[in-house]
Symmetry: C2
Subunit: 210 residues, 2 copies
Amino acid sequence: MRKDSIIIADDHPLLLKGLSDFLSEKNYNLIGQGNDGREAYNLIAKLSPDIAILDIQMPYLSGIEIAKKCQSNHLKTKIVLITFHKERELYHQAQELNIFGYILKDFALEEIENCIKTVSDGKRFFSPKIMELLSLKPKQNDELDHLTPSEKKILKLIANDKTNKEIASLLFISHRTVEKHRSNIINKLNLEQKTNSLLIWAKEHQNQLH
Amino acid sequence: MRKDSIIIADDHPLLLKGLSDFLSEKNYNLIGQGNDGREAYNLIAKLSPDIAILDIQMPYLSGIEIAKKCQSNHLKTKIVLITFHKERELYHQAQELNIFGYILKDFALEEIENCIKTVSDGKRFFSPKIMELLSLKPKQNDELDHLTPSEKKILKLIANDKTNKEIASLLFISHRTVEKHRSNIINKLNLEQKTNSLLIWAKEHQNQLH
DNA sequence: AAATAAATACGTAGTAACACGTAATTTTAG
DNA sequence: CTAAAATTACGTGTTACTACGTATTTATTT
């Protein structure tokens, strides 16, 4: 049984060692490892492995940026990302990029084997655990989905400390229009009528405003 | 040379494996490992190792909670925490608890050896990297120290989404007084004159308002 | 006891945000 | 092509926050 060639990269030495040792012990065909995004991409370009297991956050290049670069350069390496938080965005990006799965920090080692096996077969791997978490959260984002593109854009700018007038000149519209948008957003989000409730909401949900 | 006995615990299998393999290879006296806080504490109680290297965030018991429990039960095991973010709080807690050092996720493996060696000698280990980060930030907190107790209290309430009038009735003072305090705070913090700059500042520095 | 700092409070005035309504224009979708 | 949705814009009025000055009453400190 010929095993797929694999490279790995992570900027956390301990994690890299854990993964490296694990793959070696299990006799995977580990052909390279890197400590940051740049090294990882170079390894992929040079060795064109079947699978690259990459940390999502690395210096110079993130795992996602590497995935994008691979795609635009028509590299067929299948990307598996390691992440410490369950990020729903990944699931969506996975469809567009060559991201075939992701490994959560608290995965059992067997699950990692499952992941590699599935990806090796050319299928995408998203564990039940992740799917569960992905289907739990959308309740909050429902509200966000009701917003129109303009409203979302304005919400983002509010979260970035912009005043109405600043937003207005950034978007080349009247500041009165921005006010109207704010008003509509407040209605759609069902915010309590209180001063600055929108700013507060925007600040607290900034991370969900991708 | 007799090496100190060590136990380790982490709920991230990969990291646990990395650390475990590393210590074994380097011939440290690794006598046990656990997958969560409860297991970790039981190991400490049963084996009373010289050193326990613990993840800071684990199910059931956090690394810090374990340190506290050890202290109240007069267990002399020296605690080293593994953390993914540089947390300044740790440095202060280390003084009170039996926390002898901490390992950052992006530590090189040599630095981990340094840490264990230092702790083994009964000294506390805080790497230059950490001290640097700890000494860089207080500049911001300097400003906070200029604030009077009342001003800090009000700042906290602002960060908790309270309006002037709400703050006023909470503190049994006039809302005009609150306004004056706000004004003074803005001056002391040198905030740019922009709508809601104080609220924005309070939101962004909420964590520093202990 | 005197000086200093902090907390309290108000006057006046300007700006930003919010509420609610109306309405024209443009885009999108069926 | 037509209906619906989204974007644009304004009128009018209210409330909250901000700026700056003044001033009295409490602590705190020397």
